[in-house]
């Protein structure tokens, strides 16, 4: 499998991202062994150390756990954690963009809140 | 850290000698060709002749000795030594495990080995010449000495070795560090000067009068000296042509 890696984003972040994506898509189940750094290296044609760094990132975010001599495994609630985190991140970012755009268009805060409430009612 | 491979230098040199001896073999084939050419050149009248007048009989001896063969082999060894020390040959060593010194040692061993084979080639050429001579001049053919005595073989081997060693040394001198190069040029200039001003400075007369064994020992000692210098220079020198 070849995935086009982006040149201006650190590769280990891209690897971590890809692994999270695999977990969300249920291709990596809970308590399943994840790819080793060497498998990842071959998969993406990257240096094993870089792949290891991506794995370590997920380990630090407690999405993976390590079994001595066996490798890394997906934590049971990894998928939930990722989803929760993404939800937070994406919503926060969108809200931020919304507020900034509203200000640029000279929409007052009250008006913006009203707009949101109205949209929520319409979509019910 | 995986363990490093520990190959003994002797093993490496042994392998280098094995491959070099095989790859430089064309040097020996050119010796054979040279010997054949010189056999043909000297076939009619030998390499020396003696004439005696006895009354109305004029006796002429055409002598077929080893001189020409050995001289050709000595020159060949010198040129071969020079050739082996050129960049073209030495660069090939870098593709395999070697240091400059190990490659020099291996080359030296090959020169020694080839000198031995050269002695055999000399003997072969000599006897091939004799058989031709016998078949053509059956009635006037005299065998003074048929078997080459071991002491003469030693002299052959020693002198060929010495010339090979000198060739190699000269070659390495010109490829070595700049100081060695300058020293060599200086040496040549001085010796040329000495030879021109005092031609009698080099007197081989007394050397020739030594016994075969002593001559060969002298040759070997000089050759060893040259070989030693070659290794020393090789150990100091860098791979040129960067």
């Amino acid at each position: 499998m070849h995935i086009q890696l982006n040149n201006s984003i650190p590769i280990y972040l891209q690897i971590a991202e890809w692994l999270q994506h695999e977990i969300i898509a249920d291709r990596l189940q809970a308590d399943e062994k994840v790819y080793s750094q060497y498998q990842l290296a071959e998969l993406f044609n990257i240096n094993p150390a870089t792949a290891g760094k991506g794995l370590t990132l997920l380990l630090e975010e407690q999405l993976l756990y390590k079994k001595r001599g066996l490798g890394m495994f997906v934590i049971a609630d990894a998928k939930d954690k990722i989803l929760r985190k993404r939800r937070n991140e994406i919503l926060t970012k969108m809200a931020k963009d919304l507020v900034l755009e509203a200000r640029r268009l000279l929409v007052s805060d009250e008006e913006l809140l009203r707009l949101i409430q109205k949209t929520q009612e319409e979509l019910k | 850290m995986q363990s490093l491979t520990k190959l003994s230098p002797i093993l490496i040199i042994k392998k280098q000698v094995k491959w070099k001896a095989k790859l430089y073999i064309s040097a020996l084939s050119s010796l054979v060709i040279l010997q054949i050419i010189f056999t043909l050149l000297f076939f009619n009248h030998g390499n020396a002749s003696e004439g005696y007048g006895r009354g109305n009989v004029n006796v002429q001896f055409f002598i077929y000795s080893l001189d020409v063969y050995v001289m050709v082999a000595m020159l060949w060894a010198f040129i071969t030594g020079l050739l082996f020390s050129t960049k073209a040959y030495r660069r090939d060593d870098l593709a395999i495990i070697s240091s400059q010194a190990s490659s020099a040692i291996a080359t030296i061993l090959v020169v020694i080995l080839y000198s031995m084979i050269a002695v055999m080639i000399i003997a072969a050429s000599y006897y091939i010449q004799l058989i031709g001579l016998f078949l053509r001049q059956k009635d006037a053919f005299i065998i003074d000495q048929l078997i080459i005595s071991p002491s003469i073989l030693l002299v052959c081997f020693g002198s060929i070795c010495l010339f090979g060693a000198v060739g190699l040394l000269v070659g390495y001198c010109f490829q070595g560090p700049i100081i060695v190069k300058l020293a060599t040029i200086l040496f040549f200039i001085v010796s040329l000067f000495v030879l021109i001003v005092y031609p009698e400075f080099i007197n081989l007369q007394s050397f020739i009068l030594l016994s075969n064994l002593k001559i060969s020992i002298c040759c070997f000692l000089l050759a060893i000296l040259c070989f030693g210098l070659t290794i020393w220079i090789a150990h100091q020198s860098e791979v040129s042509a960067l």
């Binding site: 201006s8 590769i11 060497y38 150390a49 | 490093l4 230098p9 660069r91 495990i97 240091s99 150990h235």
Partner: protein, 297 residues
Amino acid sequence: MKVIRCEQLSKSYGHRQALQQVTCAIDGQKIVGIIGRNGAGKSTLLHIFSGHIKATNGTCQLFDQNPFNNIRTAANTILIDDQLSFSNYLSLSDILTMAADFYPNWQNDLAYRLLQYAEIDLAVKHQQLSKGHRAIFNVVYGLVARCAFTILDEPMNGMDEAIRQDFYRVILKEYIAFPRTILIASHHLQEMETILEEILLLHKGKIITHATIDELREQLISLTGPNEEIDVLCAYLPIYARKTMANLSSIIVDAYQLKLSHEELQARGITQTALSVSDVCKYLTYEEGSDIDAIFD
């Protein structure tokens, strides 16, 4: 475990200083890219590592020994460059046989398979190979020897695009199969940056930087914004490069010296973009007045 340690290493050819007081240490079992512009001293450094040339000053320790004319380090070192040559009497298959005799970890089967893949006829001589085929053969030779210290000097020169990609993968796979220290000097950083772990950036005989790929990538950033705001930054930041178009300017600055947060920059109308590793290397080795545009002004 450091494989190589250099202290104050200098090399000069007459008056030309090829290396100036290089001090570095390289860890074992890493793929390290030796990057630099033409004439930066890459080859000189690699030839000192391989023991082919002697440093004018300073020390170099390979496996805790001086590599110069050292048969023990030579047994664990292989240097592949375009000057690699073999006797005219050897066909390629003979060369493989000979190398198998010398290198204890030699992988003959692999060599045959790789050369077959590259459609190289093993009956020909090394000199008869085309430039690209010779480069392929040399890389294969360097990799299957499985020396603990493998130096590839411009290994991909002359290969076509497709085979270059293949062989970066070959290098990686061989590295995984038999971890060793591999130094690759190349101009094609962009192609191979993914397989590298560290980069040693040389410029004019000096080491500019020795860092992991990601550290290097984050070292410089590009800032684009209105001229006035950029001028303010220029006042206190060292600038690697600056381009001005109408009333917008973009500058390349050291990320670690930029004390402003993302928000602060955004407030000033400055956008921040990351650079690729090869761009970082390009800017780090930028000379003043080496802007090609300046020639046309």
